[in-house]
């Protein structure tokens, strides 16, 4: 068992100049064989390993990460957490995650700084109003705490929004989910890694998967830059690189990997204490604990694995930010970056078995995967352990693209895909 983190452990360690802290996780060499291999050491992958160990008693697990854990979209997103999705299947999935978020710091003994500062979604045209009201009604009946706010209430909740009716696309109202908020993205990966490691999970960084070995219709192991690793079950949680892994077994997925950009401003004293998103006037913003405005931009329409996108996307987003928050005009962009997001045609994820025995995919989270991290890990662990989806992820199977039973969440996804 790891040393418990607390104010007392901080005081204790202060006496030894913080030179005696334990490693947060080991740095093992891969074993020859594991019960389960998780490909991808991001939040979802680490959470999957954590719940496999914790809830399904499978601890002989390797998490293979080609770079450093949490270095992909986990460390690149704008950290928004909410569950106000339209369809029952999605609401079930994301609210399952939200409920875990609410106790996650304590569960992991790692402060992931889940801050329930509320998330507001704004409406700017009459169809936005219809769509958001529809979502709010659906949320309420699904037990999700979303409410509709009129323009005045929007202005009251977040006074710096320009709610003047004389702007190009005036705010006509919005929805508010108070339980929603943000969390510290790095801490989520680190907290899960520390928790999983403590239960015996091997987290192997700088280990890239080069091939998947099959015997007939079953998987036998993975070829990696650190040698062959035998396993009967492989969970792929490789986000933007899912198709690359899938191509190793000649599998095509309904995914396109596209650049999604984000940026932060220089830090300033608290000026906005909630998260505000707008689809029509494409802008979403929150302020980090450090004081930076964290701004999500859009995706480019073309496919790319470069983690870079077009400047036009950034310009378009900031233009929208200044339309809604003209007071931010003199704020300065400190840093911009891109991630590679794997997008499904219906803007919903895949947490699914495949036709290959022992091969499972958790992908297609598009622009909004961070918020689902704990739920996704939990349900994927269930799917791998039981070779059967949990009822909460049964709708998110690959077969829906054949039957046509899609879960169209374009309206609820943060970024217009």
């Amino acid at each position: 068992m790891k040393n418990k983190y607390s104010i007392f452990s901080l005081i204790k360690n202060a006496f030894s100049y913080h030179e005696n802290w334990q490693r947060a996780w080991r740095d093992p060499e891969p074993k020859k064989e594991y019960d389960v291999v998780i490909i991808g050491g991001g939040g979802h992958g680490l959470a999957s390993a954590y719940y496999l160990a914790k809830k399904h008693n499978i601890t002989n697990i390797a998490v293979l990460e080609k770079g450093w854990i949490g270095g992909g979209n986990t460390g690149r997103n704008t950290t928004i957490i909410r569950s106000n999705y339209l369809w029952d299947a999605s609401a079930g999935l994301y609210d399952h995650a939200l409920k875990i978020w609410e106790g996650l710091s304590q569960e992991l003994n790692y402060n992931i700084m889940f801050s329930q500062r509320g998330v507001m979604n704004l409406a700017h045209n009459l169809q936005d109003v219809r769509d958001l009201k529809r979502r709010t009604h659906a949320n309420r009946l699904n037990g999700i705490d979303a409410v509709w706010l009129n323009t005045e209430e929007v202005g009251k909740f977040c006074p710096i929004i320009n709610t003047s009716q004389n702007i190009r696309y005036p705010v006509l109202g919005g929805t508010l989910q108070k339980r929603a908020g943000t969390a510290r993205h790095d801490a989520v990966a680190w907290g899960y890694a520390r928790g999983a490691d403590a239960m015996g999970v091997d987290i192997i960084q700088n280990c890239e998967v080069k091939g998947i070995k099959k015997n007939g219709d079953s998987v036998e192991g993975v070829e990696t830059t650190k040698g062959f690793i035998k396993t009967k079950k492989i969970g792929v949680v490789a986000a933007g690189h899912s198709s690359v892994i899938a191509s190793m077994v000649d599998l095509k997925l309904p995914l396109e990997s596209k650049p999604l950009q984000a940026l932060v401003s220089e830090p300033v004293k608290p000026i906005i204490d909630t998260v505000v998103m707008s689809n029509a006037v494409h802008a979403y913003v929150s302020q980090s604990d450090k004081g930076e405005l964290v701004i999500g931009a859009g995706t480019d329409a073309y496919l790319s694995y470069t983690q870079r996108g077009s400047h036009d996307v950034v310009e378009g987003t900031l233009k929208a930010i200044l339309e809604l928050y003209p007071i931010f005009s003199r704020m300065k962009m400190l840093r911009q970056w891109g991630g590679i997001v794997d997008i499904c045609p219906d803007a919903s994820p895949i947490i699914s078995k495949t036709h290959i025995k022992g091969l499972y995919f958790n992908c297609g989270w598009g622009t909004g995967g961070f918020k689902a991290t704990p739920g996704s890990g939990d349900l994927f662990a269930h799917t791998i352990a039981n070779d059967e989806p949990h009822k909460l992820n049964s709708s998110f199977n690959i077969n829906r693209f054949v039957s046509g039973d899609l879960v169209d969440e374009h309206g609820a996804a943060a970024v217009a895909h």
């Binding site: 402060n111 700084m113 659906a138 699904n142 300033v268 608290p270 840093r335």
Partner: protein, 1003 residues
Amino acid sequence: MSKNLRILNNKFIDQTSRISFKFDGKTLYGFKGDTLASALLANNIHLVGRSFKYHRPRGIMTCGSEEPNAIVQVGKDHSMTEPNARATEIELYEGLEASSQNCWPSVNFDIGAINNFFSPLIPAAFYYKTFMWPASFWEKYEYFIRKSAGLGKSPTEPDKDIYDHRYLHCDVLVVGGGISGIIAAKMAAQNNFNTILIDDKNNLGGTTIFQQNECFKINNSFSNEWLKKEIESLNSIKNLTIKTRTTLAAYHNYNYLLARENLTDHLNLNEKKDKIRQRLWKIRAKKVIISTGAIERPLIFNNNDRPGIMLSSSIKKYIDYFGVKCGQKISLFTNNDSTYETAISLSNSGVNVNSVIDIRDKSNSSIVKNAEKLGIKIHWKHTVINTNGYKKINSIEIMKLSDDGNGVIGKKFKEECDCLGISGGWTPRVHLFTQSGGKLKFRDEDNVFLPDKSELNQVSIGSCNGDFELNEIIKNSVSSINKFLKVNNNSYENLEIISSKEVDKKNIWLLPSDKPLGKTKPFLDFQNDSTAKDVKLALAEGFKSIEHVKRYTTTGMGTDQGKLSNMHALGIIAEIAGVKMGELGTTTFRPPYTPLTFGTIVGRNVGEFFDITRKTPIHDWHVDNKAEFENVGQWKRAWYYPKKNENMHDAVQRESKAARDSAGILDASTLGKIDIQGSDASEFLNRVYTNAWSKLEIGKCRYGLMLNEDGMVYDDGVTTRLGENHYLMTTTTGGAANVLSKLEDYLQTEWPELDVYLTSVTDQYATVSICGPNSKKILSKVIPDLNLSDEEFPHMSYKNGLINNIKCRVMRISFTGEHSYEINIQSSYGKSVWEKCFEAGKEFNITPYGTETMHLLRAEKGFIIAGQDTDGTMTPVDLQMNWIISKKKYDFIGKRSLYRSDTIREDRKQLVGLLTDNPNEVLEEGAQIVAETNKKPVEMLGHVTSSYYSPNLKKSIALAVVKNGKNLKGQKMFVPMKNKIINVTITDTVFLDKENKRLNAKL
């Protein structure tokens, strides 16, 4: 005090024009040409801010964009204040007001400094380990954490300044106007390349322009004098544009670069008015030459952060360029030769240099020799182990280094000083190179990352390419440029260059102290307060990767983005982890190079220009008649026309009633119109619409539904057959552009064999729609020659007409269920025809109606609106529009998808009508529909898509999609609202005139 810190007769500062400014409320004076930093230093002010975490006093450290400490709030006005501006970059102007940040009540007495006392408890990333109990308390902790974090303050009112953009295409872009950049720009322009030279300072010349030292000469002149002449010679060169005060912010793929030109920040408040503040240059360069120079490194030792501790080269710039002495008793601490230039400059300006503490064993270069000649004392193989002075350094403690450099030996001694210059060597500014995707290589000899491979047409020259000495800079730059531009310029070949050469090199990333590391504070990132200890802690806890360490300790995450700290962090990690720095790699430098104002990125695209506004040819009439407008895509559409004292509901009820009782008039010009010609036009329509088109007679109109390949409804509209091979298609307002591009896609890629041409004519025609029982009478007044008899001109047909000799097309089609006509006429006559119709209709109380009434009227008839009653998940079968799916056609877009296992399900959500038990209760659009009221969670069967109070039926009506709805007609359902449950009944979608009597009435 200020007087004796200035030296007279300086070339760059206009000491005849005195400027007054305020810092922290106190009025001070400087000169034209000063930066805020140089003016403060001249006033003997070093302490300008408090650090992020421990609130330690911090002073001006540098003279450029790498400044981590001197970050100030400029201006007091709520709309014009600017947080986090670097004092080292602010050019002084009359009336400038600046203040310290992140301190309360003042920079001199800051309550937050208590954090420094608690610093043993708050090592790197402590927050991940605590604040977890009680569970619900994080937000309360967070409130205080947030308040103490952040630096400056955001403005609270809209910016009054203006920003704009310019695109620029050039052959060669030279970034950086130091000596190598000037040579590059001159060579490029002389060889007929259209060349742009940009530099972030107000003057060209970099550091060489104030390098007046015997050890650096070109053709027997001081290097600065030689360079001055070079700069003067640029004026007469064609093809060369020079932009100063212009910072390269981002270097993207395909040589697309963004540069910010600062136009007014240096002007006084009156001069700034009504001018563009900053301009963003969007540059597409065929070739890019990067000559951005290098950044001096600090040294990492105990308490290396006190005010008065500065980069050695900055002290040199303040004395040689600004004529400001950073102290009276200056000590210098170095691991390389460049500090000796500072020592000589100080000495030549009459400033007392206490000593140079050099960690090296020796250096025999000419510059060191010259310093020794001037009597400057050098402590070889010594290190500073500690500094003293809370708000300003007052002394340093020095010890001898052990042979291996890991410890200190001998007796420590103290040296009094009021300023300490430090130099840890130089870091080439490779930021732009890496931003562009270039890969770096590591040079072990002096621990620098240098540009290596790049896919783009670019080259780095000068010290950003690792050439630090004058002769190397010139020779290597010239040969690189010749090669890069494929020219042969030999004008610099025979220069006689004298340059001091550094041979002796030594580097220690973390300098030892006489105390254990745990008891010291060797700062790496001055702004974010991360120390070498923090890096060690991160490594001990298993954070191996440089990115992990950076994130765990926040090193390099400040507003300077690690320009000073990154190399040391890497060095210390490499040392502890026992790997070579070259193998460790570096963190990614992300754009922008220096923080870029949002307003600059956005330019003029604010307010009116935030987005395009599209207007119909009749727009002005709607404005004159007090219409309220609805945004539909980029269009402004008349929404309703309230009369005095009318609210929206009143207006819509009146308009709707008038349209059915007598006559209504609607501006339908926004509908997309596509002119389709070609011998395969009919076959084309067969393929794109669900229904059949071949048999449509010339002169007839037909409604069509267009699907996506996934079988879901995409768009709809009426298409008219104008001739054998000629159709006019209409699309929805919002769908126009997408439909045209989708159809072009099919024609060009899937069906190139079809002889069909599409031309958008949306803006060619204004469309005036007249409906209602009196529409025929009105039209006959407007176009008397047209035979309007039902036989000649039946529903779903069209006629050509003339209105005052202007050709028009009249379609008899209806979206309201009323007898109605749409007149399509050239846009320029649209308003006039509208007015004519209005005039003609006056006797029938013709009533202009907007989109809201249009929506109500069509809902009474159960007509769908694509995008409102459909949401990308509805097939035509779901809409109960099976009649529109041709059974005979082999294929059309989306057909196959209608036969998948899910789309053939009987119990999909289907479009139905809803009536409320209480006829006065209007449902909310978006409300959900359930069959049970006391189950939780309850299954949602569907939702209300359209809902209105119908003045014609005198009851509330709604359209909805409901699971298995088509089999549930007559069933009771519930619409659960937040505080009540509304009882409803499922009905047919057509509420009014099921028999189409109105449409076919003999009028």
